[in-house]
């Protein structure tokens, strides 16, 4: 694999700085026909909670101009089944597995972090930004004090790097970023989805069963680039940038804004092999600009 793209983020060696974003990539195995999973920097697997969750009722997705809304509602089999069945099953792919976790209390995050402090897990990503469930996530992502507590609790309970996934649904994202950095976070990932909704004007009903959902896709990219830029100037820890990336040029914007790696989400739905294309094109892009490693592009916006 090309040395141009090799990188290391909080101790995790990555063959490329292109990751798959949580919630869009299952546990990685769903994409094995389309993607060389080892060529991904990591797979950020579907959010795991302490107890199994069945997710939200009714329609869960809607296409929007240059994007989509989702309100899956953190459906997942729970940490016990993840550890007993899924993690052993995906070991054979030899990929970096970053486990996205969500809880409804500070203690939940600590307990999850402790349970997931096992072989085969490269890092944890704290989901404090899911807009689609009432009892978890976002309440910790919109208050600096709560974000600090959750991060500190997770750090206390694991030896793994802790990545905190930030919500864009806040007035000042740098305030939350600084809070979790001071609590010991090793890395930040941003942005999660923007809260939105869609109304069917024929039926006068909301499209989504959950009424509101999270907006993702190309439509949110400028918001994400701006937030990565702002946060990169405020913190010292590395950033995994995400939000509407579907081409190498999109990815390059995030690196220039200050991201050390990027994650691709919604674009996987349209092109299940898009991450491979972005990695290949990024290599050519670096060559074209006479750079010898991706790290030389990080934060170089003029």
């Amino acid at each position: 694999m090309s040395e141009l793209l090799q990188t290391e983020i909080c101790g995790i060696k990555m063959n490329t700085p292109i990751l798959a974003a949580s919630g869009t990539f299952g546990f990685g195995e769903e994409y094995e026909n389309f993607v060389d999973l080892q060529k991904l920097g990591a797979v950020m697997v579907k959010c795991i909670t302490l107890k199994p969750r069945s997710g939200n009722e009714g329609v869960r997705i809607a296409e929007t101009p240059m994007g989509m809304l989702n309100s899956i509602g953190l459906e997942n089999p729970g940490v016990e089944k993840f550890l007993a069945e899924i993690l052993p099953r995906i070991k054979k792919y030899n990929m970096n597995v970053i486990v996205n976790i969500s809880g409804s209390s500070v203690e939940d995050y600590g307990e999850l972090a402790k349970l997931l402090n096992v072989d085969g897990v490269a890092a944890l990503e704290l989901n404090i930004s899911c807009p689609n469930v009432k009892d978890g996530g976002i309440i910790f992502g919109t208050d600096p004090k709560a974000a600090f507590d959750v991060t500190a609790e997770a750090k206390k309970n694991t030896g793994k790097p802790v990545i905190v996934k930030l919500s864009p649904n806040v007035t000042d994202i740098t305030e939350i970023a600084l809070a979790v950095e001071s609590a010991g976070a090793d890395c930040l990932s941003l942005i999660n989805t923007l809260m939105g909704m869609q109304i069917n004007v024929d039926t006068w009903k909301t499209t989504l069963g959950n009424i509101t959902g999270g907006l993702s896709g190309a439509a949110i990219k400028p918001v994400a680039v701006r937030m990565v830029y702002q946060v990169a100037r405020a913190v010292k820890i590395p950033i995994i940038g995400m939000g509407g990336i579907k081409t190498c040029a999109d990815a390059a914007e995030f690196f220039l804004a200050g991201a050390s790696a990027v994650a691709v989400g919604t674009a996987n739905f349209l092109n299940p092999n898009v991450t491979m294309k972005i990695a290949d094109d990024l290599e050519k892009y670096l060559q074209r600009h006479n750079l010898s490693n991706i790290s030389e592009l990080v934060g170089k916006v003029k």
């Binding site: 919630g23 869009t24 299952g26 069945s54 997705i61 809607a62 899956i72 739905f269 349209l270």
Partner: protein
């Protein structure tokens, strides 16, 4: 299970067969060889305007792969305007498909666009009878033409909501079903269409001691079992329509006490 992959095929034809309903034929001989009835394609619309693919059930694998769709939104409108000769990118074959066990005679019960997967099942079954329902005459006559070409299909029962198809009955397929099931011997029932119709059909089939398979239609994003947009509740917990289905044994949706209570 067959491996799904990304295909590119030429559109051979794309014509309106009833108001807002289109039939599209793809030049896809390799897919035709491996696809099973009940499986589907996830089609990428050739425009940068769309974020998601559009899942469509395979309706036929004889002489190319055929799909049927109703124009309901921006995506299907765009699809309906594509000309023959356009190259279409799609992921296929997706999902599990009907079991096609060695049934003697299968009754295929469909409504609306849910009739499409049943047509491809009829192509592969040894003996089948069909019960289909639509809003009006225009929405059933093209299906009748498609089914009557197939040697395995003996009888086609028809209902329309407004009674405009005079050789059929006015009402829903579920009104007609008990009579049909009691008049003849079937080994299984396959059903696809609106949920209410499928559940009604499944209850009736199971009450008659018949094996019943339900083929679901749901909004999907990935089609690969990753995004959980199409997840549904079964008696065995949550299942993914795209990966665990779209075809399920009807008993996964019908609690035994519901049957006994009937």
């Amino acid at each position: 299970m067959t491996m799904s992959e990304i295909f590119e095929s030429e559109i051979k034809s794309n014509v309106e067969v009833a108001p807002t309903i289109f039939k599209m034929e793809l030049d896809a001989p390799e897919l035709a060889k491996i696809a099973k009835p009940g499986q589907f394609l996830n089609i990428k619309l050739p425009s940068n305007e769309f974020t998601l693919r559009r899942p469509l059930g395979i309706a036929s694998t004889l002489n190319g792969v055929k799909v049927f769709y109703r124009v309901v939104g921006r995506g299907t409108k765009f699809l309906s305007e594509l000309k023959a000769g356009t190259i279409l990118n799609y992921v296929a074959p997706l999902g599990n498909g009907f079991s096609l066990q060695e049934h003697s005679k299968v009754l295929l019960v469909g409504g609306g666009m849910g009739i499409a997967p049943l047509l491809s099942a009829a192509e592969k079954l040894r003996e089948a009878e069909v019960l289909i329902g639509g809003k009006n005459k225009a929405e059933v006559t093209f299906w009748i033409k498609e089914f009557s070409r197939l040697p395995a299909v003996d009888i086609i029962f028809v209902t329309t909501d407004d009674g405009s198809y005079h050789y059929g009955r006015k009402g829903f397929v579920t009104d007609y079903l008990p009579e049909i099931l009691s008049a003849d011997k079937y080994s299984a029932v396959y059903t696809c269409g609106p949920d209410v119709m499928m559940y009604g059909t499944a209850l009736e089939a199971i009450a008659n001691g018949l094996h019943c398979e339900i083929c679901f239609e749901r909004r999907m994003a990935c089609g690969l079992g990753a995004c959980l947009s199409c997840s549904i509740e079964t008696v065995n917990g949550r299942k993914k329509v795209c990966k665990d289905g779209p075809v399920f044994d009807a008993r996964e949706f019908v609690e035994p006490e519901n049957i006994l209570g009937n």
